[in-house]
């Protein structure tokens, strides 16, 4: 599996808009985190949703974000984190 990113890489989630089905929640776009693990390769959900029978197979990462970096005025602990799965084409290196 060829991946653009490796574990602990600092990454930013692309801040672009999406118009169709997409699994990158809007709240995480434009936020900076690190790669927690590489989950493997999966069919691109943006293509499967449109009935594409031969979707691209793309790497999926789990990324870790500090809650204080995600939400303005986050009220919890500085230690608090949020992890979610981001497909490679939504990530950029910093």
């Amino acid at each position: 599996m060829k991946t653009k990113f490796k574990i602990d890489d600092l990454v930013i989630v692309d801040d672009r808009l999406s118009t169709s089905h997409c699994r990158t929640p809007s709240y995480i776009r434009g936020k900076v985190g690190i790669v927690e693990r590489i989950c493997g390769e999966f069919p691109n959900p943006e293509e499967i949703a449109l009935c594409n029978d031969n979707p691209s197979i793309i790497p999926l990462y789990r990324c870790r974000f500090k809650q204080a970096d995600v939400w303005e005025n986050y009220e919890g602990s500085d230690k608090d984190t949020l992890e979610l799965e981001i497909y490679e084409h939504w990530l950029k290196k910093i």
Binding site: S26, C39, P45
Partner: protein, 327 residues
């Protein structure tokens, strides 16, 4: 919250402010179980993929929060079937009318209680009208049940699925899936090697104890510890390790849980009675793509010498989602 303008649709609720979580989790009705089973059968046979279903649900626009979870599922399934040419409106209407007719109950004359004279144990006995009536005020099945039955019947006639597929799924959701997670946790509490394996590669570890999960998704197991409290949510829909835990509870699918957990996990946990000290890390897992999560709770201290069966009986679903900890 910032960046509302980027929201993809009514489903993209992570980060919104919302109301307190309704912790009631009513028993599913038969039609909900049937609708759920049909959806799972159709997606596991890849007749329609999960992402197609999600996409069509997201496209419902304002109707998204005006109708219930299973109604949304049914409507999007119907729309996809039309789009894909699995059936057309004409056939659907015809089959649906037939399904509605199957629920028609013939009207019969009820006996007049005043004309019935008989003895019970030698004593004269009378009856009320209500003794002969059933379901006089029943509302009949919900509208979407007819649609669901019609979709299923057409698919069965086309040979895409069978009646048995649906019956088997209903049975698994009732009797098999909800117990699996409990078995796995009891094993992990009893067997350190298994616990380690579970944390490294949950799907294989679970498969090795004879539980074959009927899912394409991978499973990640996170252990609760004195340093970190884990909690799971799916902000975009209702991703949940169904083949390991059964159906998600109502609150897991609710807008309030899905929107709030990501940005105020401590407040949400407090509503479940779980107080996490401020010096402890809370790690929220948004189950938004191809992974599913199992949270491994700590083994209660008063269980020395218990066997796996005894242990599995005290494992509660809420522990495995991370909203509560064993006492």
């Amino acid at each position: 919250m910032s960046k509302i303008y980027k929201k993809m649709g009514p489903h993209d609720v992570g980060g919104e402010n919302s109301i307190p979580i309704d912790l009631n989790d009513p028993e599913m009705t038969h039609w909900e179980k049937y609708a759920n089973a049909l959806r799972i059968v159709v997606s596991s046979k890849r007749i329609i993929t999960l992402d197609e279903l999600r996409y069509h649900t997201e496209k419902l626009g304002d109707a998204y929060f005006e109708i219930g979870y299973f109604e949304r599922n049914c409507l999007s399934l119907h729309n996809i079937c039309l789009n894909k040419g699995i059936y057309d409106e004409e056939l659907f209407k015809k089959v649906k009318l037939r399904k509605i007719a199957e629920f028609d109950v013939p009207k019969i004359n009820l006996p007049d209680p005043n004309t019935i004279e008989h003895l019970h144990d030698g004593v004269p006995h009378s009856h009320e009208v209500s003794d002969f009536q059933e379901d006089e005020t029943g509302e009949g099945p919900p509208k979407y049940y007819y649609d669901t039955l019609a979709i299923a019947e057409i698919m069965i006639d086309l040979g895409l699925i069978t009646k048995e597929d649906i019956a088997q799924k209903i049975d698994q959701f009732d009797n098999v899936f909800p117990n699996r997670g409990k078995t796995v946790v009891a094993k992990a509490w009893s067997d350190e090697d298994f616990r380690q394996y579970l944390l490294e590669d949950a799907k294989t570890a679970i498969s090795n104890i004879g539980i074959k999960l009927e899912t394409f998704a991978d499973i990640i197991c996170m252990p609760q510890s004195s340093e970190t409290h884990h909690i799971v949510v799916c902000t975009l829909c209702s991703c949940y390790p169904r083949t390991l835990l059964g159906m998600p509870p109502s609150w897991y699918k609710s807008r309030s849980y899905r929107s709030r957990v990501v940005h105020e996990p401590r407040k949400v946990l407090a509503e479940f009675g779980t107080i996490v000290p401020k010096n402890k890390e809370i790690k929220v897992h948004d189950s938004n793509a191809d992974m599913r999560y199992l949270i491994l709770p700590p083994r209660p201290s008063n269980t020395d010498g218990w066997n796996e069966e005894q242990l599995s009986e005290i494992v509660e679903r809420d522990y495995l989602v991370g909203v509560r900890l064993p006492d």
